[in-house]
C-alpha cells in the first residue's frame, strides 16, 4: 500500500516511462512503478541501509545526496524526476528543483504544507514549533530544514517561470479541492515542467 502522495504520483506517471526518484528511500514507489507500470526506474538515496534494501529488491539505486549529486546527471535523460517528501530536507531546494527540471522533462514534487491549519494553531496558540503526525520531529532533530507552504511554493514557481501541469492536495489520505488548499491541505503534490 503506497503512501497517498506516492499513490497520486504512481497514478499519473505514464507507463513505460523513465523516472529518477530522488530520495527514493527503500524503493517502495520505484518497485510499484516497475511492477505495475513497466517503468524504467532509477533512484538516488542518502541512507546506505535504504539503498541496500532497494538494491536487494532489484532496483537501481545510487547512494548519494540530492544537494550535491544531481549535477552529475545529463540534461533530459528522464521523463520524470520525482522528489517526494524530500524538498524540505535539502540544503538548497531551489537548486535541487532547477536540476530536476533540467534532468527530467517533467518533475513531481510532494511536500508537507507548513500552512495547514493544525500547524498554524499549534504555532499560534502553543507558541512552539509544531509537532504533528505529518511533521513528528522536534525543532532540534528535524531533517526538515526548509519548511514551505503551498502558497510559498506557488510564488516560488511563478518567480522562476516554472509551469504547473498538475496539482493535488491531501488531508490525511483524502484528496482535497484546490480551493483553500494552503489552509486545509496537509500535503501537496505538484507536476511541473520547465517554462
Amino acid at each position: 500500500m503506497l503512501r497517498s502522495d506516492l499513490a497520486i504520483i504512481a497514478r499519473n506517471v505514464r507507463s513505460g516511462s523513465r523516472i529518477l526518484d530522488v530520495g527514493c528511500g527503500d524503493g517502495q514507489l520505484m518497485a510499484a512503478l516497475r511492477d505495475h507500470k513497466q517503468v524504467d526506474a532509477r533512484g538516488l538515496e542518502i541512507d546506505p541501509v535504504n539503498v541496500a534494501t532497494a538494491v536487494a529488491r532489484g532496483l537501481s539505486v545510487v547512494q548519494g545526496d540530492a544537494d550535491s549529486d544531481l549535477v552529475d546527471y545529463p540534461d533530459g535523460c528522464f521523463d520524470y524526476v520525482i522528489l517526494s517528501q524530500t524538498l524540505q530536507t535539502t540544503r538548497r531546494p531551489d537548486l535541487v528543483l532547477d536540476h530536476m527540471l533540467r534532468i527530467g522533462r517533467q518533475a513531481f514534487v510532494s511536500f508537507p504544507n507548513f500552512a495547514q491549519w493544525r500547524i498554524r494553531i499549534a504555532h499560534m496558540f502553543g507558541g512552539q514549533m509544531p509537532v504533528t503526525e505529518q511533521l513528528p520531529h522536534r525543532w532540534y532533530d528535524t531533517p526538515n530544514i526548509h519548511h514551505v507552504t503551498i502558497d510559498d511554493f506557488r510564488s516560488f514557481l511563478k518567480d522562476r517561470g516554472v509551469v504547473v501541469e498538475g496539482q493535488w492536495f491531501l488531508s490525511g489520505n483524502r484528496p482535497r479541492k484546490k480551493a483553500l488548499a494552503n489552509l486545509m491541505a496537509e500535503h501537496a503534490v505538484f507536476l511541473l515542467r520547465q517554462g
Partner: protein, 382 residues
Amino acid sequence: MAKSMQGDERFGLDKRVRLLGPVRLESGAEFAPVDFAYETYGSLNADKTNAILICHALTGDQYVASTHPVTGKDGWWTRMVGPGKPIDPARHCIISINVMGSCMGSSGPASLDPSTGGPYGMAFPVITIGDMVRAQAILLDHLDIPILSAVVGGSMGGMQALSWATLFPERVRCAVVIASTARHSAQNIAFHEVGRQAIMADPRWNNGAYYGREAPASGLAVARMAAHITYLSEAGLTEKFGRRLQNRPDGSMGAKSFGFDADFQVESYLRYQGLSFVDRFDANSYLYITRAMDYFDLAEPHDGVLAKAFAATKARFCLISFDSDWLYPTSESRRIVHALNAAGAAASFVELSSPFGHDSFLLDAPEMNRIVDGFLRAGENL
C-alpha cells in the same frame, strides 16, 4: 532443468586446458597457445543463462570456494560463494579462472614457453587487464558459455568485471564491482612501483631468470609487506596492534630490544605476511600483474571520457565501496557511477561502513552479501 555436467570433462574442480588462442594483446603482440587453470561449481542450465564469472584480485586465484592446494586454506571467497550464499552452485554455473600472467596454472612468466622448452621469464609479454579478459573469453568459448549472467569481482577482479562489460557488452548481463576503480591513480602506481623495485633489487631476481634456482624471496616479501599496508586501514591496524610490543624469544614480555628485531607486533605481522606470501606466489607474476593494473584506465581508449566506455553496454551494474578503503576509495566508485548515469546504464551503488580498509570485501560483510544477493536475483527474474 539444469543439464548434467557429469561426464563433461571441461567442468569441475582444478581444471587445466591449453587452447590455441591466440590472445590479441593490447601491446600489438599475439600470445599462443594459452594455458588456463580454472574451476567451475554448479551446472549450466539448458538455455545457458546462469553462468557467473568470478574474477580474482592481484594475488588471488581460481580457488574461490575450494581448498587452496599450496596453503591448504579454504577458498578465498567462501563468504560469497557456496551453498546458500549469494552466488550459489545450486542456482549458478560459477566459473573462476586464474588470470593470465599469474602463477597458479594459467599462462604466466613461470610457465614453459613451448618454443624454447624453458620458462618464459621476462620473455612473457606485458599484458593488460583487457588482455586478461580477452583470454577469459577464449576459455568461455571453449566452455560453450556465450552469455554471462554476471561478472563479479573485488579489487582487480572489479577491474576485470568493468572491462568485460565494456569489451564484450553483448556477453554481459550484469557486473558486480566491489572495492575497485576504473583507473589506477598515481598513488596506486607509486605503491606498485615500490613493490616492483623491491623485487628487482633482490640480486636473486636476476632479470627474471631465477627459475630452477633460488627465487627473489626477500624482494617479493618486501613487495607484499608494502602492498599489505594498503589493504588495511589505520584504524584497523591500530585496533589490531596499536603500539603493542612482541614477546621476545627469551621469554621477556613486551620489552624493546634496542635493536632491529620485530619489536612491534605490527612488524612481526607484516614480516609473516611477506614470508608466507613467497611460498605461494611468483615474483615475476607480481611484476606482470601489478603492471597490468597500473596500465588500467578504462577511459583512456575513449578520449578520457569514461561514460563513452559504457556507451554500448546494456548490463546492469552494482558497485560497492568501503568507507575505510583508501586504496580504491569511494570517490573512484562514484566516478564510475557518474559515468554510468551519463551513459544511461542501470547502476546501483552503496558505500558500506567497515573498519578493515580495502580487504573488507574479503571479510564478513552481511550487508554486502544482502546487496549482491538481491542484485543477482533481480537479474534472474527478468
